[in-house]
Symmetry: C2
Subunit: 365 residues, 2 copies
């Protein structure tokens, strides 16, 4: 018997039906002209969703975190100063990854559950090579103002690069890479894009592209080599690098097609209204939201576990009795916060009602 869950954790979410169809289409080879056309279209669709004209926009062959790794591997040389705004797990992860590539990391810590403070990040170092921050912190459900950060960084120093983690924001809330002036950004497919996990949409500004590390320590994530396959060499020919995950890319193509057919504005509005209903319902149940008011993500709501309630037991009951997956908290909040996602195909009022109803029953409220 196949297990069919309602995936309302921090991702993966249940894919859009179009994405599932794309995944089960006949498989194409990675050098087939039909596939290369599909890849080009996928990258065009990604550009629309990212809000960018960057020619270097593509899905990397790994899950979201591989995008973070590719960003640092291709831009940071040992000794480069990298400022990281940390307000949750994924900021922490940036610190770890940047350090492995030899960066001199200046971390700017914030309380978890709060957005980043642009001025503090700016004041942390006068001339960093790169400033990294998370747009939508998956660990806390908080949105930070990446546009203000990027503008402030570039106003001071045109050569500094700005890196944004958009894993949980892309296709759920507006992302405007070019308008904001973000140089590198990565995402995942398994959240608001509504596709299974396995790819990391990635985009690089021309400025970052031309200042990248010539031969990064990683072969698999060498953007120059990947670019020769995805966009072709200077001479125009496409050169094989690694076997692209063609089924996953066909699914991404289809999922993005669905999003653009519906319209990005409509998709954002659907996330906003589902998230609002969930937040209202949780508060009506007497529960306290974790993320700072005014900075809450509609696609991922964090809620405090009530005193005396066993967090894991509630999650298990939701899973076993209702087939609903919600997420635990992370790090210091592992047992005291739940994370409830209404992402992509699940950004719907019926999903909000389902989890609100089930949670009310389980909590006896």
């Amino acid at each position: 018997m196949l297990v069919d869950r309602l995936l309302l954790g921090p991702g993966p979410s249940n894919p859009y039906p179009e994405a599932s169809q794309g995944l089960s289409q006949p498989l194409l080879g990675h050098l087939d002209p039909e596939f290369l056309t599909l890849l080009d279209e996928t990258n065009d669709r990604l550009r629309t969703v990212w809000g960018t004209q960057n020619p270097r926009t593509l899905p990397l062959s790994g899950t979201g975190s591989i995008g973070m790794e590719a960003a640092f591997a291709n831009t940071v040389r040992p000794g480069d100063v990298v400022v990281i705004a940390v307000n949750g797990l994924f900021g922490e992860r940036m610190v770890d990854v940047a350090g492995r590539y030899g960066a001199e990391v200046v971390r700017v810590d914030h309380d978890w559950g709060r957005p980043i403070d642009v001025q503090r990040v700016l004041d942390a170092h006068p001339r960093p090579r790169l400033v990294g921050a998370v747009h939508a912190e998956t660990s806390t459900g908080v949105r930070s103002d990446i546009g203000s950060l990027a503008r402030a960084v570039h106003e001071r120093d045109d050569a500094a690069l700005v890196l944004a983690d958009c894993v949980t924001s892309i296709a759920g809330i507006p992302v405007e890479i070019d308008e904001w002036g973000v140089d590198l950004a990565y995402a995942g497919t398994q959240k608001c894009i509504g596709v299974a996990p396995g790819l990391a949409p990635f985009t690089v500004s021309e400025r970052a592209w031309h200042s990248r590390v010539a031969s990064p320590p990683t072969w698999y994530l060498d953007l120059g080599l990947i670019g020769n396959y995805v966009s072709g060499t200077e001479g125009g020919a496409r050169v094989y690098h690694h076997t692209a995950p063609t089924a996953m890319i066909a699914s991404l193509h289809a999922g993005l097609g669905r999003i653009l057919d519906e319209g990005l504005g409509e998709v954002y509005a659907r996330h906003a209204s589902a998230g609002q209903r969930l937040a209202d319902g949780l508060r009506a149940m007497g529960l306290e939201l974790f993320a700072a008011e005014g900075h809450r993500l509609p696609e991922l709501t964090t809620v405090c576990v009530p005193d005396g309630v066993d967090s894991a037991k509630v999650r298990t009951q939701l899973l076993e009795e209702y087939g609903i997956e919600i997420g635990a908290g992370v790090g210091p909040y592992a047992a005291s916060v739940w994370r409830i996602g209404l992402m992509g195909h699940n950004a719907r009022l019926d999903r909000a009602e389902a989890v609100l109803g089930a949670l009310a029953k389980v909590l006896g409220r």
Copy 2:
């Protein structure tokens, strides 16, 4: 209109029907107990196909080449001597990757199309940290004797590690990691395993595991962190690392299930007989095989393009008129060799007849 190809190049091949079914099952979360059971079973099945008891056996979240990268990233420290047997593109790639991680690489070049010479590899350096070689060279269709290499290396120096690229051999010809004494090996899913591209089955001996680099330069491929998720920590708990590509792993689980239901011996015999029929048919057509006799892979046959024939034009005609994909050659043999794969679900006599018939028509033979 969906394009449906017969994928008879060097991979991807058309998936086993069971693998396609697995890919379209309802998606599970990466921390769902149901998924973790499926992951455990997948790793058990991989152990059987690898011929190993290694507890550290798992699918890495990327395509085959990510396995190569993980192997070097987790074992090689700057200055370590690494001997690489090069008899094709994937040996070349090992040299590139090992060098990026700071290895002092000693390469032992062989003619492309020939197997590796164990004694020459052994003589290249008296005390290397690691010796790497490709079991089945995807670029040339040649099998090398990894068992003899591994035994010889370990007889001389018990501490040296042996790394084998099994991307094109696994589940097509016998692979015996433990019997041979291989310490690290990686594969891909898109060839004889008969699953879409996107995962790299990987196995590590306990000896290699315990001598690995404590904090490798890569976060995504840090085997210690990945192991904490896949196998659990010392305390037994599984710790989140990155979001596993759950749809692809469900597909791998199903594809491996199909292979083990059929029986590994039967699967190898099926590859052998389909490959033999293809080789016989090509010779009967007056074509010359490229790989050295006695060392040819049944799952991937390399054939010389006849004088005066335009290699690319023939491939295009096969693709457009017959819907059959075959591969070009690689590097110096790009225009003078074709690569025809009968892998996984395509290791069948009907596929051999289809490509032989189509090729005869196109070549007018």
